[in-house]
């Protein structure tokens, strides 16, 4: 059994382990393979069919194939009711590891606790629940919210000559990323009274809703300085509203996302300006590595959640634009 001491397994450790797995695993002779072959892993994403989850699943499938454990996907297809049922079914099958992608901080909390009480290890991927589990791999939303807010202050705040008006477009107000990014951003904005958040309305992750909100907000605030969209997919709708209003050179459109080639295309098309990418491909590799470790019995010494924070890539339009920062499925 691998026993990891320390409170948190941070990025460095994950990178080293991931590197070791790649070096050993893809040669087909990994030591771990003999220990974990035949075990069962179930992944319950919010929805397949998006680069984020497809990218994660690709890497996890690769590891499962190399080490000989099974890897099943239960696609909730953006239906939260179905997701609870799928997770209940997955728990009843008693897998060795469950990988869950929480749509909100509360929805799956009870089931995560139930799974762990039955000895099933739970890895939460990118979006946390209120309920801690064995491990979490994903973005540090507080850091992203803080960094984007500071960048907005730099671009729109005192001395910038801009209005300081900002529109925030979360996905869902109860989703972990939206909760944490908004908390962090508002902490920064509170120290800068010149920043005026004129709108903070969730788009339900839908580009068309984001477009309609943005069109209305731009009409009321034609001197808007920046839009902070919490996910690049729905922020594309907001960016298109900015472009349709002919304001793409005046309004900065910020987003976060998995950073695949669609993101870079949106930046090239002047639909998005700055994207904080958490590199879904890298996250997939990290998640696969943590699954391998959990299958081998890894746990923190004090029972707290092992945490692997995803490194960030900042993709910016302009002279520093670098398309190589985006990954291709």
């Amino acid at each position: 059994m691998v026993h990891i001491t320390g409170n948190k397994l941070r990025r460095l450790a994950a990178t080293i382990v991931a590197g070791a797995c790649v070096a050993l695993g893809f040669g087909g002779s990994a030591q771990a393979g003999s220990d974990i072959a035949g075990k069962k892993v179930i992944f319950v994403p919010i929805s397949m069919g998006i680069s984020l989850t497809e990218g994660w699943a690709r890497r996890m499938k690769e590891h499962a194939a190399v080490y000989g454990y099974s890897f099943d996907i239960r696609d909730a297809a953006f239906n939260t009711g179905a997701m609870s049922e799928l997770l209940a079914k997955a728990i009843s099958e008693k897998p060795d590891v469950l990988v869950v992608h929480n749509p909100t901080v509360q929805l799956l909390a009870r089931q995560i606790k139930q799974a762990e009480s039955q000895g099933i290890k739970v890895l939460q991927l990118n979006l946390q629940s209120n309920q801690p589990s064995n491990a979490f791999v994903g973005a540090n939303w507080t850091r992203i919210g803080n960094d984007i807010a500071e960048d907005i202050v730099k671009e729109c705040g005192a001395g910038s000559g801009k209005s300081g008006k900002v529109a925030i477009i979360p996905g869902q107000l109860t989703a972990a990323d939206s909760v944490m990014m908004n908390d962090a951003a508002f902490k920064v904005f509170k120290e800068h009274p010149e920043i005026n958040v004129v709108s903070n309305q969730a788009s339900d992750w839908e580009p068309e809703k984001a477009r309609q909100i943005t069109a209305t907000v731009l009409q009321q605030n034609p001197d808007l300085c920046a839009i902070f969209g919490h996910w690049d997919v729905h922020t594309i709708g907001a960016g298109n509203a900015v472009k349709d209003a002919g304001l793409e050179d005046k309004v900065l459109v910020y987003a976060t996302g998995g950073g695949d080639t669609v993101t870079c295309k949106a930046i090239e098309d002047k639909v998005l300006d700055r994207v904080w990418s958490y590199d879904a491909d890298g996250q997939g590799r990290d998640a696969a590595t943590v699954v391998d470790l959990l299958l081998q019995g890894a746990q923190s010494s004090d029972g707290s959640m092992l945490t692997v924070e995803s490194p960030l890539k900042i993709i910016k339009a302009g002279p520093d634009y670098d398309p190589s920062l985006c990954w291709k499925m």
Binding site: G49, D204, E208, Q212, A215, V217, Q219
Partner: protein
């Protein structure tokens, strides 16, 4: 004479209701800063274009005593078909013709299930909504839920552009849909049959009206309005998004427009004026709530309250006629 005497109070109450709606609108206009501007009016029109198109289709269906729960699924299916075709390099006019053919088939399927297989409209269209969503999302898009459209594509540029300065293509298509709805309901034989079916379906059938064929016409018309809505929406946002069907509240808003506009869910009454009133109220409500920075959840609560109020009012103004009600009616 006796009939006319009975109708007078209903007309009077309807008049008062419309007056109430106008007062609500006026108060909203006065209270919200930035609302009463020409620019905001343009935004309201642009944001409402797809809702108007869908509501026209739904209104015709409801007046015929039906309900089309698949209209949003058809909208996304139409946009998907068109987008895939233009993405594959098919010329836009050919792609449009092929998409129209697909939509006619979908509308025909609904009409056939209701008119010939005699499945209640609500169940038939609920089933077809699931079938269409599943078929397009998993059969055609292979699990993808989102299709991105390049804003540089000439068809997308046209659909999100201007007919001439001041009149956008979505607004022009919205006007065309309203006109087509008015012509269908008021100037065509099918339109008169639609009202007769809604008023008393059995009587319409017994008098020899072609209720089955007209049912198919009604659902094909709804599918075509859904296509227009899909084209306008996807061109504006640069995406075709299946969550509009699975998670969105658009279907709720489409039904809300009809009920709020005063079209009774048991059919037989209503027209263009009702659609326009319903749209105006919903569009003002949506725009006002966005301007007031209400959260999505608060907006849903308010819209739900408005729908409940509208349904209660509908029951009061249009009491159920037990002589013409049949099993399966709403």
């Amino acid at each position: 004479m006796a009939d006319q005497a009975q109708l007078q109070p209903v007309r009077g109450r309807r008049g008062r209701r419309n007056l109430l709606e106008v007062i609500v609108l006026a108060v909203t206009l006065a209270l919200i800063p930035g609302f009463a501007t020409l620019g905001n009016l343009k935004v309201i029109l642009s944001n409402s274009a797809s809702l108007v198109m869908l509501s026209c289709g739904m209104a015709v269906v409801i007046i015929s005593r039906g309900l089309d729960l698949s209209i949003v699924a058809e909208m996304v299916a139409g946009a998907t078909t068109f987008s895939i075709l233009i993405g594959a390099g098919v010329a836009a006019p050919v792609a449009l013709l092929l998409t129209v053919a697909v939509m006619i088939m979908l509308g025909f399927l609904n009409g056939w299930l209701i008119a010939y297989v005699e499945i209640p409209a609500m169940l038939a269209t609920l089933a077809s909504a699931m079938l269409i969503t599943g078929l397009f999302r998993f059969g055609i898009l292979r699990g993808e839920y989102l299709l991105l459209l390049p804003k540089t594509d000439p068809a997308v540029v046209f659909l999100s552009g201007n007919v001439f300065p001041g009149l956008t293509v979505p607004v022009a298509l919205m006007g065309a849909t309203l006109l087509a709805t008015w012509v269908l309901l008021n100037l065509s034989a099918a339109g008169h049959t639609v009202y007769a079916m809604g008023d008393n379906f059995q009587a319409a059938r017994l008098t020899g009206l072609p209720v089955r064929r007209v049912t198919i016409v009604v659902y094909v018309f709804a599918a075509l309005t859904a296509l227009l809505a899909g084209l306008v929406t996807s061109a504006a946002s640069g995406t075709v998004d299946f969550r509009t069907v699975t998670n969105g509240t658009l279907l709720f808003e489409v039904i809300l427009v009809a009920v709020l506009g005063g079209i009774p869910l048991r059919g037989g009454r209503g027209g263009l004026r009702n659609i326009v009133i319903g749209i105006a109220l919903i569009a003002v409500l949506r725009n006002g709530m966005t301007l007031l920075n209400f959260t999505a959840q608060t907006q849903d609560v308010l819209k739900g309250l408005v729908l409940v109020t509208a349904i209660v009012a509908d029951n009061y103004f249009n009491p159920r006629d037990i002589e013409t009600d049949t099993v399966g009616d709403l």
